[in-house]
């Protein structure tokens, strides 16, 4: 995987994350809803930064799909939180790939920053520390 491929994969992941967190947010309220909103905003920022990096590289950013199949049914606050945790874990691996594939320091720095951010976010959504967040499952 080269840098452009990893950037496109990360962007596709962010599109999917935005969809999933959006769905989950609909089942949350109060502090959890606000946390979901923060998570959504950070994924939106990442999506925009990834798009900008791809455009700067002369590439066309991959577009979002109209809808995504979710790995679990979201019908309660608990399943909504569980979905966001799954998303944060999966996107950590995508950023791990981007750290490895990055050829430019700015891309690598962004990937590292994002990996650390989603690793921290996993704790917000009920996750426990793991030995290698961002490792390919």
């Amino acid at each position: 995987m080269n840098q452009v491929e990893a950037l496109q994969a990360a962007l596709a992941g962010e599109h999917a994350a935005l969809y999933g967190v959006g769905v989950a947010g609909g089942k949350l309220s109060g502090a959890r809803f606000r946390a979901a909103n923060d998570t959504f905003e950070s994924h939106r920022d990442n999506r925009d930064r990834l798009s900008a990096l791809l455009v700067a590289a002369g590439e066309t950013p991959v577009a979002a799909e109209p809808a995504y199949d979710l790995p679990l049914a979201v019908n309660t606050a608990a399943t909504a939180s569980a979905l966001i945790l799954i998303i944060e874990r999966r996107i950590a691996a995508v950023y791990g790939d981007l750290v490895e594939a990055a050829e430019q320091p700015a891309v690598r720095a962004f990937a590292i920053e994002s990996l650390l951010a989603v690793a921290a976010s996993q704790l917000t959504w009920g996750g426990a520390p793991v030995a290698f967040p961002g490792a390919t499952p």
Partner: protein, 183 residues
């Protein structure tokens, strides 16, 4: 574009979020990393060694960065061990971090030439102060390893970034006053 639609529906979040990529096992010695200079010192390649015996040199900058990380991880491991010995009530809380740092050190040492320097660690007198000290050191290590990762590339950069991410999680989890979230 039927192919595209098919992949969209089947791959979903899973594929979008987890593209097939080299697993962390790719962090093992990268034979390509230092290849290309066999026999460079003597002017001609040695013919007496079988190919299987040749050990490509790893970039000294990578070895230095990973050795620095190994030293820091060793310090953390010692801190965990001393704290767990002095405050048995903390053992359960410290078990995961202690185990993860053993894994980190083992992974770092898979790269040829990487070595950790032994250092002394002091543990505070109370269990809460010890926890706070470990959390603080985890966060400091995360910053150091993230910075080191940014200066490398490829698998070594990823390894250091993942270690930094784990330390971020451990530092947050062990910090005193950490509120339990209700998932």
């Amino acid at each position: 574009m039927p192919d595209r639609r098919l992949s969209r529906r089947t791959v979903v979040v899973t594929a979008a979020l987890v593209p097939g990529a080299v697993a962390l096992s790719g962090c093992k010695d990268d034979p390509a990393a230092g290849a290309g200079t066999p026999g460079a010192v003597n002017g001609k390649p040695s013919t007496s060694r079988a190919p299987a015996e040749e050990t490509p040199a790893v970039d000294p900058a990578v070895v230095a960065a990973l050795s620095g990380a190994a030293t820091l991880v060793t310090q953390l491991s010692q801190l965990y061990a001393t704290a767990a010995r002095r405050f048995p009530a903390l053992r359960a809380q410290l078990a995961a971090g202690a185990k993860y740092h053993v894994s980190h050190l083992a992974k770092l040492k898979e790269t040829q030439g990487v070595a950790a320097q032994a250092t002394k660690t002091a543990v505070p007198a109370s269990s809460q102060a010890a926890l706070a000290a470990i959390a603080k050191q985890e966060k400091a290590a995360a910053v150091a390893h993230a910075a080191a990762a940014a200066k490398l590339s490829g698998a070594p950069a990823r390894l250091l970034a993942e270690i930094a991410a784990a330390e971020t999680q451990l530092g947050t989890t062990l910090a005193p006053g950490k509120k339990k979230d209700n998932a």
